[in-house]
């Protein structure tokens, strides 16, 4: 891929997960940045706090991701100035979708998961593809380890699954600590089998009290 003179993307790897609860949202991502078989750094955050109840985790090409996060943060600031309040998570979800589709013919190589609390205080998770197609779900994962993690989340969090029809309530009945434990477990499993996932896990928990950040060590190999 790198032999072509016109290939402008690269995949820096990594995995992001988000789970929505009745009154909380957990957003997590590993902190490894890789290029090919090399690790560039073990300490790179993929998570961006866009508003007080809204957090974006993105994996893919970090150049595009930095630009995307900067773009969204700037738009959120403008919104604050114009509306005298911070952007809600569902509003940011729509903005992200539009921002991604704006570059439909030269996309952001970014696979996003947006998590936070909606205007009623319930957890919400929005999952995206690279060009802005999005869906509100109870949980999601994107990135190199997503195919390893998704079936485990489906198995453990049946009710808010996007695979069930008719769509049930998009939040899980798990408690906050159970959801955080589940996230730690799935990342431990993904780290074993995915070479791009590992080093450290950054977990952000959003609830009505605010935002809490936690770091867990993962395998460094």
């Amino acid at each position: 891929m790198s032999r072509r003179g016109d290939w402008v993307y690269e995949n820096n790897g990594g995995t992001c997960v988000a789970i929505a609860g009745a009154d909380y949202c957990v957003v997590a991502a590993d902190t490894r940045l890789s290029v090919g078989y090399n690790i560039l750094t073990r300490d790179h955050s993929k998570i961006c706090e866009l508003a007080d109840k809204c957090v974006l985790a993105s994996s893919g090409f970090q150049g595009d991701i930095k630009a995307l996060h900067k773009n969204l943060a700037a738009r959120e600031l403008l919104y604050q100035h114009q509306h005298n309040k911070r952007m809600s998570c569902p509003a940011m979800a729509q903005l992200l979708s539009n921002t991604l589709y704006y570059k439909r013919f030269f996309p952001y190589y970014a696979f996003n998961v947006l998590g936070g609390l909606d205007s009623e205080g319930k957890g919400c998770v929005f999952t995206y593809d690279a060009v802005g197609s999005y869906e509100r779900t109870g949980y999601s994962t994107q990135g190199t380890g997503s195919s390893l993690i998704m079936p485990v989340l489906d198995n453990q969090l049946k009710s808010p699954s996007p695979l069930l029809l008719p769509a049930k309530d998009a939040v899980t009945p798990l408690s906050e600590s159970e959801a955080v434990d589940l996230v730690k477990d799935v990342f431990a499993s993904a780290t074993e089998r995915d070479i791009y996932t590992g080093d450290k896990l950054e977990i952000v928990v959003i609830n009505k009290a605010g935002m809490k950040r936690e770091y867990i060590d993962l395998r460094k190999d």
């Binding site: 195919s147 998704m150 485990v152 489906d154």
Partner: protein
Amino acid sequence: MSIFEYNGSAVVAMVGKNCFAIACDRRLGVQLQTVATDFRRVFKVHDKLYIGLSGLATDAQTLYQKVVFRHKLYQLREERDMKPQTFASLVSTLLYEKRFGPYFCQPVIAGLGDDDEPFICTTDCLGAKELAKDFVVSGTASESLYGACESMYKPNMEPEELFETISQALQASVDRDCLSGWGGYVLVVTPTEVRERVIKGRMD
């Protein structure tokens, strides 16, 4: 589309306490079209040895016939059944003979060896063996299966618990793969008995 994804498949084997389990999905497709919903991918070689073959279905069937032929000859000459480790080497050799025009299969071998010690292994389409102490996976849903098995597996499970675990791992993984599914065949083999169960899942 890759030739390995032409028919769609999912095969997984897990080691338990003095037993093993081997499972596969039931879909046979021709690219996007589903052609059969009761296709068997796990075959018996002898009472304590099973082989699961994922990948191109025609190659899976041919390879199974070749392997059974070789095993029957072995039984006639040696007057005994083949050990799983020997069988794995046999499969590896058969595949490598076609090094420059391979069979598009990924076999999963599971058996009870000496002293009924469970043995599992998988090979790639050219015959490179990968022995594992815990579980092996293959097929279009292999990445999902790796994640699910890694999370759900624990060592020394009894046959009933092993059956539950392997079934849940298989179902969760094939539900996220369009090319495999339509239920599953799960075989749990202990030194005294073999239980085969057909599990029903999302029929899509």
